[in-house]
């Protein structure tokens, strides 16, 4: 039947994701990873995977569990796998972290940690991909935003498999020529397909639909530029083509990465111009905080495209790290935090008040949040990320820890707003719990 029900585990995914974001930022404040440690040090790997898997992947999966049904107008398939997928990813990530910690000499080495972590992660990702894939499959032919998601989860699969190969190679369990070739040459493919393909391409697709929904832009304004889809898909194919090349020739396919980078910049340009058009043609005149706070993320995306040029000419670690940091915390995290500011209150409102709408007076969605207080923290957040990027570029490791502290503080305040929304803390007491409404659990939605 058409329609989109509340996704039972989305809030749990979000809660876990936000905890990992706070953990990751705390690690940066404490001087874990680059630039305090070398770029390829195990400490950096620990930090990168806390953020990439713990925060961003769980955030994206939680959001997709709720919004893929909205994109395709059909209910979710194989929903039962959502909880096992989450648990496997959590266990896998913890094992992976233990393995990296062992490589850093912090804990005794159990070679099986990395392999077990990779196995659990690949299995968890496979389950999540199955839910989303089956839901998309039953809704063919796919709309343009759904195609972005399909390509995004394809990239997730390749990223996870490459990661699995690296883990097996590093753990020394599987002595295999193919794994060592991939480990030596495939790191950039793993990173580009993960951050660019899985997270960004999916976020771009979903954002087309969400922006249009939240700002009531006419469909004509929000028509997805097919060029973004096809050029982006082409660029990702070029990147992925590096995998069989490395297996066959034991060398990276540098030219394809360069061309993909150029295409990526074109995609960013087209996408940002689409976004500008959607904002301009909106029918809803007041721009809510989730949409205005996303502007910083688009700025960071454009800045990342500029940083990519610096990386191309300057092959140093600092340029690459600055690009990754701006992309991950400015673009992906900024967009995520901004959209959660709408998604969490909306889902909470629907869960708590949906069953009593029309029967009793209920608050509006916007009554669950206080936008004014929160907006300044988004400004502080983006300013700290911009300053942090400059610190990395200029190799100021200690100053960077200072900007990360500000970033952590802003994140904590924003997350506290989500918790307040979940607890209905800002709703007038008279409207808080009308007869028949049940108070939402903090991170576990009631099944409907």
């Amino acid at each position: 039947m058409p329609g989109a029900a509340l996704s039972r585990w989305t809030m749990t995914y979000f809660a876990a994701a936000l905890l990992f974001l706070i953990l990751g930022e705390t690690m940066m404040v404490a001087g874990y990873g680059f630039p305090s440690a070398p770029l390829r040090a195990p400490e950096t790997l620990m930090l990168v995977h806390i953020v990439a898997i713990g925060w961003l992947t769980l955030l994206m999966l939680g959001a997709l569990l709720q919004f893929v049904p909205v994109l395709v107008g059909r209910s979710l398939r194989a929903q039962r796998l959502a909880l096992p997928a989450l648990l496997l990813i959590l266990v896998g990530l913890l094992c992976l972290e233990a393995g990296f910690a062992a490589l850093a000499g912090m804990v005794p080495l159990y070679t099986s940690d990395l392999a077990a972590g990779a196995a659990a992660l690949v299995l968890g990702v496979a389950m999540a991909v199955m839910i989303i894939g089956l839901t998309l499959w039953q809704a063919r032919p796919l709309t343009a935003p759904a195609r972005f998601v399909a390509i995004g989860i394809g990239c997730l699969v390749v990223t996870a498999m490459l990661g699995g190969a690296f883990a097996l190679e590093l753990s020394g369990i599987a002595e295999n020529e193919i794994f060592s070739r991939l480990d030596l040459n495939g790191l950039s493919i793993h990173a580009v397909l993960g951050l660019g393909g899985w997270m960004s391409f999916t976020a771009i697709g979903v954002s087309y639909r969400l922006l249009m929904m939240f700002m009531l832009s006419p469909d004509s304004a929000a028509r997805v530029d097919r060029a973004v889809l096809w050029i982006g898909a082409g660029a990702l194919m070029l990147v992925a083509a590096g995998v069989p090349f490395i297996i066959a020739f034991a060398a990276p396919l540098t030219a394809s990465l360069t061309i993909a980078g150029i295409l990526g910049v074109v995609v960013v340009g087209l996408y940002v111009s689409d976004v500008v058009r959607i904002y301009r043609k909106r029918v809803r005149k007041t721009v809510e905080l989730n949409s205005s706070a996303s502007v910083g993320a688009y700025g960071a995306l454009v800045a990342s495209a500029a940083l990519l040029a610096i990386v191309y000419f300057d092959h140093g670690d600092y340029a690459a790290a600055a690009l990754t940091y701006a992309f991950v915390f400015g673009w992906l995290t900024g967009l995520g935090l901004a959209q959660l500011y709408k998604i969490i209150p909306f889902l909470t409102w629907l869960e708590c008040y949906g069953p009593v709408l029309g029967k009793s007076p209920t608050p509006r969605v916007q009554d669950l949040v206080r936008e004014k207080g929160a907006s300044v923290w988004f400004v502080i957040y983006y300013a700290s990320v911009a300053a942090g990027t400059i610190c990395i570029l200029s190799a100021q490791a200690n100053l960077f820890r200072g900007t990360c502290l500000v970033q952590l503080l802003a994140t904590l305040v924003i997350v506290a707003q989500y918790v307040r929304a979940r607890c209905l803390a800002d709703v007038a007491p008279a409207l808080q719990l009308p007869h028949g409404a049940r108070r939402p659990n903090l991170f576990l939605s009631r099944s409907s």
Partner: protein
């Protein structure tokens, strides 16, 4: 909705040795939603069938006078937009005329959902509500079903407004159905 097919005769282009592909693609791009294309050519344009298939058209070709060919390309999607129906809806064609109508096209979501649910609470079982919205109310559908109401909905021909008919249900009716 049965629109007249657009007619395009590329025989003059072909006879003068030209390449008609551009002209055909432009004509296809200019078609209205649901409109077909009637193409006249000097041969059976086999490669074009694949191209048009990819764009969602079925093709029927027949030879006409003088060895020329006429091809009718019909959009595969039905001209009428698909209709969403709740699983509990029984014979919507027999429902009584709506006695309440709401135009909610100017409201920001989720206000239309709030208004519709408020209206359904005021109505007797068996009565019908009609509402016009600017979007497909995806989160409303499960809530209507939970309250044992039946519904049918579809976009209008322009695709810019969503129409929904809701028949107020009772718990007993649902249990029997």
């Amino acid at each position: 909705m049965n629109q007249q097919s657009h007619e395009l005769d590329v025989r003059p282009i072909l006879r003068s040795g030209g390449e008609p592909f551009q002209a055909i693609m432009k004509a296809v791009a200019d078609l209205k939603p649901g409109q077909g294309l009637r193409l006249l050519a000097t041969f059976r344009p086999e490669p074009l069938f694949r191209v048009m298939e990819g764009r969602g058209f079925t093709s029927v070709a027949r030879e006409i006078d003088g060895g020329d060919w006429e091809v009718l390309f019909t959009p595969r999607v039905a001209a009428e937009p698909p209709v969403d129906v709740s699983t509990n809806a029984e014979m919507p064609q027999l429902w009584p005329d709506p006695d309440t109508s709401l135009d909610l096209t100017d409201l920001d979501p989720p206000e239309p959902m709030v208004r519709i649910l408020a209206a359904t609470e005021q109505m007797e079982p068996g009565r019908v509500l009609f509402a016009l919205l600017s979007r497909e109310p995806l989160f409303l559908f499960p809530e209507l079903t939970r309250r044992h109401h039946q519904w049918v909905g579809s976009f209008d021909d322009t695709g810019e407004a969503y129409r929904i008919l809701i028949r107020i249900g009772t718990r007993t009716e649902n249990n029997n159905g």
